[in-house]
Amino acid sequence: MNVLHFDALTKHYGEVRALDNFTHSFAEAQVHALIGKNGSGKSTFIKMLAGVIKPTSGKMKLGSLDLSFDNPADAFEAGIVTVHQELSLVPEQSVAENIYLGRLPKRGFLVNWTQLFEDARLLLDEIGASGVDPKAKVKDLSVGLQQIVEITKAMSFSPKVLLLDEPTSALAQSEVRQLFALVERLRAKGVTIIYISHRLAELPLIADTVTAIRDGSFVDSVPISEASPQAIVDMMFGELLPLDRPIRDFPKEFPSLSIRDLCLVPFFQNVSFDLYPGEVIGIAGMLGAGRTELLHTIFGARSADSGDIFINGTLIENPSITVMKAAGMGYASEDRKASGLVQSASCHANLCRAALQRIAPSGWTSIKKESSFVDIQIQDLNIKLGNPMNSVSSLSGGNQQKIVVGGWLNNAPSILLFDEPGRGVDVQAKRQIYQIIWDMAAQGLSCIVVSTELEDLTECCDRILVLHNGSISEEFLNDELDPKDLYAACMENDDSTGEPV
């Protein structure tokens, strides 16, 4: 029996056809992977099913029941629960309150706090997140734990249909495995799951079918057994050339960046390494290993407790963002919503922000003067947007990520730090970003790339450092490196998760 049925479902935003004539049926009690490149309409599809937005036209059916939602509460009622792509938690409130947001248990007309915390405790235990205190404020948790809370919240509805929009983009492997175990349990209970991810390697582990959308249109749906990696990529992109990481030779004489004994309690201690001109270094590590803090410290956005930073052999006395920027460094942030982009501003403004001193050294600027810098990035990075003057918030996640990167490239940096450049970015866009990194590296740009997806690192980097328990525990030269080895190195003696490798 086909439980979820869509008939010519369509959503238009003005001229933009976010989803067009989507017709398909999803079978009951299976995990359906929904894939497609950035901006192909996946989130739009999910949002309609979740009652967040209304379709322009078309029908949705659950079993024999017609679905038409005025608000998210209607969707919950129908048993459809969503974990949205952008985290939607209330940072100031407790984990338990977030899980039962809008549905706090009551005694009379008062909140039943005891029951609330007990229920939350049970749910968290069931999900395997016994480490999370239901009374803790969400703002005090790491992004990964917040994602767990988000999923716990969805679970608490005992859904018939669970929609997961890129739930793993902020998760590390161990947490991903927890999540998958959970998803399997749900499937066994008869829950239908639609699962969006850009991490194609995950699909065979979890999905029963793979459905692809391209530019707002349904392409195909195949059982997982027929979905070889090549087939998936073909569905998403039509044609995609195989990736070829250039093995480059660069002189390892004068490091462009040297880190010596850098410490920041409690995140890391005695971190030392060298980065050579033209080299791309990856930093691997589990979620919460302190990689973001390391990049922030190198970039001068936080001050280190001790340790030295040298650029081109010169000691930087008082590292600050201004000093580091002047020395040719740039930093593409991991969280485009909170710290990477000015969402209320235009794409144009976001592409210029970091490089204004270069674009307009005199302090006088104008749209005209800036335009050439904007156009070149839109072209080079293949950013899909209508008018550069439109607000950046109307772009899909992946295109927003490209804007973050493009903004820094405009500053012609000599050292660029990428924090999770691949978060929420499709394979094609990722490859475009690698290609840019390599092109720039060929001209002498040095890069540090942090990513939770270890495949990203093995695909992109020349050398990979593993940050473990606050220090660099291992170093790999990336020569036919197997992501599995890297994974093992990250996990070794990891007492924080307490899991065997």
């Binding site: 938690l89 100031e92 409130q93």
Partner: protein
């Protein structure tokens, strides 16, 4: 209790500590400050700004603001007096019939203004900052029009009880303040509505996606503060025994200062009713102390400005640590 807990406690209650400090200083320097009578005076003086501050705390926590509360106090006093005057002409007795009519009508009027602000925010997206600013002028004008610029004196003789009466030696407004505090405190901390207020103020989109009726929540907060302001107007009308359009000018800023001094975040989602109370009490003690000290009025402005700044400074400074 170890050192860390102590620091944590002082952080949370830094404003309380500042208030205690103020009490000590004023107690030693201002004659008559530490008498029971004067303490009751302070409580009575903060009764009206206090209850409005509780409502305002909810409004600010839910992510909105209401600048029309001062005018609402004035128009409510006038409206009540006007209705009592008109009704008493028609001689349906006893007197409390028309006093109740006046009070109920006024509270309904206030509620509908709050509801209107909420609707404008919801349906049209007009920020409450600006709609309530316009409402401030409109209501002040209405107060003047109702009374034709002068005070309406029409209350029966026992009406003074609401604003100036005492039971067991404690002024009636103090009871009202306590009731308002308890109600808002319970509302904010122990009801689903109260938790929704925090959720909506903390992350509106998340609240919406969880099926919380964001607009109802916001609108109810706007209604609550308007009703408290109207109650304040009724208390004042009793205190001065007339409906006078000139009262409560600038009270909105006083109330908002108090709420922020009490640690409610202007960005929404954060703060407490208890904090709002501390903030109001701080300002009340300050005003009382300056009157007792008998400062030159010009110096009072400077000193109170500086002290507010100082208190907020210390408060935020400790929070930073």
């Amino acid at each position: 209790m170890n050192k860390q807990q102590l620091v944590g406690l002082s952080r949370q209650h830094s404003m309380l500590l500042i208030l205690i400090l103020l009490y000590i200083i004023v107690g030693f320097t201002a004659r008559g400050f530490m008498t029971v009578d004067n303490q009751l005076n302070i409580l009575r003086n903060i009764a009206v700004p206090g209850m409005i501050a509780f409502g305002m705390a909810l409004v600010i926590i839910v992510g909105e603001i209401d600048l029309s509360v001062g005018s609402m106090v004035a128009v409510s006093a006038c409206l009540t007096a006007w209705i009592v005057e008109k009704a008493s002409g028609h001689a349906f007795e006893p007197a409390w019939y028309y006093v109740v009519l006046g009070i109920v009508t006024t509270l309904c009027f206030a509620a509908s203004v709050g509801w209107f602000n909420g609707m404008l925010r919801h349906r049209v997206g007009v920020p409450t900052f600006i709609s309530s600013l316009a409402m401030m002028a409109t209501l002040a004008g209405m107060a003047n029009m109702i009374t034709n610029g002068s005070a309406i004196e029409a209350f029966p003789s026992w009406y003074y009880i609401i604003g100036s009466g005492r039971f067991w030696g404690i002024p009636v407004p103090v009871y009202l303040l306590v009731v308002a505090f308890i109600c808002t405190f319970i509302l904010a901390n122990f009801t689903t509505f109260g938790r929704a207020v925090y959720s909506v103020g903390g992350n509106m989109e998340a609240a919406r996606l969880s099926g919380i009726n964001v607009w109802r929540t916001k609108t109810i907060c706007m209604v609550i503060v308007a009703v408290f302001a109207a109650t304040g107007g009724i208390i004042y009308s009793s205190l001065i025994n007339s409906g006078n359009p000139t009262i409560a000018r600038g009270m909105e800023l006083q109330v908002i200062s108090a709420v922020i001094i009490g640690g409610v975040s202007l960005f929404g989602g954060r703060g407490s009713i208890w904090g709002a109370f501390i903030g109001v009490l701080f300002l009340g003690v300050l005003i009382n102390a300056m009157t007792l000290w008998g400062f030159n009025p010009y110096a009072q402005q400077v000193v109170s400005g500086a002290l507010i700044l100082g208190a907020v400074f210390i408060n935020f400074y400790i929070d930073r640590k």
